[in-house]
């Protein structure tokens, strides 16, 4: 009998070793994968015990903070709708967006344990607060831009073209991040998309603001100079179709510089046709189309069809920013910033610094170039073209006395609705400090609707 008792012991021992192997698998090998499953609410419960870090503007205004209610912390946004496209929201039910998502590790303080005290506190289950995030956003400019766009749908981005630092980011309509849990149903069903950040994730037909790209391509490929003279009829026929000027205007004959200032489609259609699809598309891609811009918030890429997918007529329309060309306001701002910054596009950013609750800096923005789509010479030429737009062309509404302003208007036709009004511009032209891109959905003429908004923002920013 004893031999059999020994065997029974062996079988039982083997079974318990299997238990231990299985436990090792669950608690060690597969642990992180299982813990991360969305059905597991433990990470959320743990987070609610942590005082999440604040989000603060460049001028020290608190945009997101945590308040203790009973045992847990609740997120609170003192500015509500005004900055929700930047902060995003933080919800235990519906997840998180915006900086709450992209800087989650810093805000929740889960990045690293920097001091032995932190470690001991954590072992004891004590409250180790998250890190505070300081932005480059200036709330005076943000408020001005928000007020100017008003009830209209659209987007505004303001940045420093020399560094890539954002000064303001407005997307309308927006939402109140304090009420996301309460209003979730209506927010996600709203056809106006209040939770879409139009600056970084909205694609619009850029219209004539895109002529900055076409002009760059033409100048760098030496097919034109600013003084090249073109016929500028009301309509030109290309490949069985036609390109027309806005409101069917006939300009007779004029130089390339005048055509840019007056935004003459029939001239740019000819320029596009002689450039050809491949060169236009290459230049456009050099400005970041087809890539998601690196940024502190989630972005989408701007689009232009491949050259092989466009016939001559579509290339001609693409050259005036119509057809299947689709750009985010962020990308249009970056195109303008290349002109302002000697041909270089700086990587855009809006998080200046991340500090621990104790004051230690754990992250600091480091301005660096992202793209070099233009030669410095070309950028100077295009800058002079853009100054003429504001001085004597379609962008006169953006003129500021005593300050040289460069800009380009756009009136993007979108079928039967009123066109989108665009303006991309910067100032002072000789030493650019501020760049503004504005799009007002169905806002009409860029020069009438968007240029005055950009002007007031530049005035505010240069104060």
């Amino acid at each position: 009998m004893n031999k059999r008792i020994g065997r029974l012991g062996t079988i039982i021992t083997a079974a318990f070793i299997i238990l231990i192997i299985n436990l090792t698998y669950l608690q060690f090998i597969a642990a992180s994968g299982l813990t991360a499953k969305p059905e597991n609410i433990r990470p959320i419960l743990n987070e609610q015990k942590i005082r999440r870090g604040d989000i603060v503007s460049a001028d020290g205004q608190v945009l997101a903070t945590s308040r203790k209610i009973g045992d847990i912390y609740k997120r609170y946004y003192p500015e509500g709708n005004l900055v929700s496209p930047i902060t995003g929201f933080y919800s235990t039910k519906y997840g998180r967006t915006g900086l709450e998502l992209t800087f989650d590790e810093y805000l929740s303080g889960q990045t690293r344990i920097s001091s032995p005290e932190d470690y001991i506190k954590r072992l004891l289950g004590k409250d180790v607060p998250g890190n505070n995030v300081t932005l480059t956003i200036n709330m005076d400019i943000q408020r001005t831009a928000d007020r100017l766009l008003g009830d209209r749908k659209g987007a505004i981005i303001v940045l420093n073209p020399r560094t890539g630092a954002l000064l303001a980011l407005v997307s309308h309509p927006s939402y109140n991040p304090n009420d996301v849990d309460k209003n979730w149903g209506s927010l996600i069903k709203d056809p106006n998309g209040p939770m879409v950040n139009r600056v970084t994730q909205g694609r619009f037909t850029p219209g004539s603001t895109f002529k900055i790209v076409t002009a760059t391509a033409a100048l760098e490929n030496a097919s034109v100079t600013t003084e090249t003279v073109f016929d500028a009829p009301d309509t030109i026929k290309i490949y069985g179709g036609k390109v027309t000027n806005f409101e069917g205007k006939n300009y007779g004959r004029l130089t390339f510089a005048d055509a840019f200032a007056k935004s003459v489609n029939t001239v740019f259609a000819q320029v596009g046709k002689s450039l050809g699809g491949p060169k236009l598309v290459d230049t456009t891609r050099a400005f970041g189309f087809g890539d998601k811009p690196p940024f502190d918030l989630p972005t989408v890429e701007s689009r232009i069809p491949r050259a092989s997918e466009m016939d001559e007529l579509e290339v001609a329309w693409a050259a005036v920013g119509q057809g299947r060309v689709q750009a985010t306001p962020l990308n249009m701002a970056l195109i303008g910033s290349a002109v302002a910054n000697d041909g270089k596009v700086m990587r855009p950013f809006l998080v200046e610094k991340v500090r621990e609750a104790g004051g230690n800096t754990v992250y600091e923005a480091n301005p660096r170039a992202w793209l070099s789509p233009m030669k410095p010479d070309t950028s100077q030429t295009v800058k002079s073209l853009m100054e003429r737009v504001v001085n004597e062309g379609t962008g006169k509404a953006a003129r500021i006395s005593g300050i040289r302003v460069a800009g380009k208007t756009g009136t993007a036709e979108v079928g039967k609705d009123k066109p989108h009004a665009w303006f991309v511009g910067f100032a002072p032209a000789e030493n650019p400090q501020v760049l503004v891109a504005v799009v007002v959905e169905n806002g009409g003429l860029g020069g009438h609707t968007a240029a005055p908004i950009a002007r007031e923002i530049m005035v505010e920013a240069l104060k």
Binding site: M1, N2, R4, I5, G6, L8, G9, I12, T13, A15, F16, I18, L19, I20, N22, L23, T24, L26, Q27, F28, A30, A31, L34, T35, K37, E39, N40, I41, R42, L45, N46, L123, G125
Partner: protein, 423 residues
């Protein structure tokens, strides 16, 4: 080197167990904000219970195994810590059951120092066991889909727990008497040598009982437990693997039939195969258990710092998951090894027992303990389909605590006898 006597080893081990119980209760009071005096009171109460048992061992059974009491003290102490941490209100009730268990051990030690007489009443145990097993099916209360409880006023009792020990006594006595007969093959059936059919009777009766439990009481766990117990005792007694093979085949046949006949058996197996088909419904409990265990990681969240209360019924069937979450892999493996050590000590007691009845009782008790702890730990970790049995010494539940204390007392008594005759 000083050779410690068995009782002094026990005392030393109990001392360490006591310290860990005090520290654990104190930590829980700090992390959950419950009064530290309560922590010290419960820890002090538990420790004094074990000291009482230690003194009783010194008095009644000097030569008994020195590891069993400290192991069960450790497991029941950790169990009570977790219950206090999970549902503080239930901890007092559980402590009272520990008191009852202690009293039961004292009774067993004083009455059963000579346990041989138990085998003279084997059919009494068998009949009592059957009555206890099936009583709930007729007059019981249903909880969580299984009819396992009897209510006596405020106290509810799970008679299957008692029945386990009675069946061990019956089977040990029966097999001691018949094992020679059962080992001799007289008939050839389908190429196998089999003993007389009349001797096979109990095997078939046990098989039927197991299936009836499954059908009438909808309790897969208890059913498997009884059958496994029976097979392991039969194997050890007769040394004929054919019984094990044949019995297993019979049970598989029965279980397969049940799988197709009963939707609740089917549901259990389906959820085991893939709980993600219904993560917020039928799969919720096991998925929450897996999350709890996984989130424990290597060192655990810390006592009182995890979220084990997300698991429904965590204080009974899923107490192991809460330990794995808060004490990590280190803690969960420590618990598994403690169970294994307890079982192996039980088998060692069987090896050293001088009489076959004592030997078979020890084998049976160790097997019950092994089957039960394996099936619930395996179930909560999704190694095997979940069966609702309690984790010995740790789960909340009066009948479980009481019966496992009696099981401990029986093993101690047998070990004392074996040792005294050897030395």
């Amino acid at each position: 080197m000083i050779a410690l006597s068995r009782r002094n080893i026990e005392l030393l081990l109990l001392f360490f167990v006591s310290i860990s119980i005090f520290v654990s209760f104190f930590l829980v009071s700090q992390t959950t904000g419950q009064p530290a005096e309560n922590a010290l009171r419960i820890a002090g109460f538990l420790s004094s219970m074990f000291i009482v048992l230690h003194i009783a061992n010194r008095h009644f059974i000097r030569e008994a195994d020195p590891a069993l009491l400290p192991l069960s003290a450790f497991l029941s102490g950790l169990g009570l810590v977790m219950i206090w941490r999970l549902k503080p209100d239930l901890a007092i009730a559980q402590a009272i059951w520990v008191l009852a268990g202690t009293a039961a051990i004292l009774v067993v030690l004083s009455l059963l120092k000579r346990y041989q007489w138990l085998k003279d009443y084997k059919y009494t145990w068998a009949i009592a066991g059957i009555i206890l097993l099936f009583a709930p099916a007729f007059i019981g209360v249903e909880r969580g889909g299984a009819k396992l409880w009897l209510n006596f006023g405020p106290v509810s009792f799970q008679p299957a727990e008692m029945a386990k020990i009675l069946f061990v006594l019956f089977l040990a006595a029966y097999l001691e008497e018949k094992r020679e007969l059962l080992s001799i093959s007289t008939k050839r059936v389908f190429g196998f040598w089999l003993p007389e059919l009349k001797h096979l009777g109990p095997l078939i009766v046990m098989w039927l009982i197991s299936l009836v439990i499954l059908v009438l009481e909808r309790d897969l766990g208890t059913s498997l437990l009884f059958f496994g117990l029976f097979l392991s005792m039969l194997y050890v007694a007769t040394g004929r693997p054919i019984y094990v093979t044949f019995g297993t085949l019979l049970f598989i046949a029965g279980a397969t039939a049940c799988y197709f006949a009963f939707s609740h058996v089917q549901a259990r197996v389906d959820i085991w195969l893939d709980p993600w088909i219904d993560p917020s419904g039928k799969g919720y409990q096991i998925i929450q258990s897996i999350f709890a265990i996984a989130s424990g990681g290597l060192t655990g969240a810390g006592l009182g710092l995890g979220h084990p209360t997300l698991i429904p019924a965590v204080q009974t069937d899923f107490i192991f998951s809460s330990i794995a979450e808060e004490l990590g892999l280190l803690g969960s493996v420590a618990v598994v090894l403690s169970f294994l050590l307890f079982i192996l000590r039980g088998l060692k007691i069987a090896l050293l027992a001088k009489d076959d009845f004592g030997r078979l009782v020890a084998v049976g008790l160790a097997s019950v303990f092994a089957l039960q702890s394996f099936s619930i730990i395996g179930g909560t970790t999704k190694l095997i389909p979940l069966t609702g049995v309690t984790l010995p010494y740790m789960s909340y539940g009066g009948s479980s605590i009481l019966m496992n204390f009696i099981l401990l007392a029986l093993l101690l008594v047998i070990s004392a006898k074996g040792a005294s005759q050897v030395e």
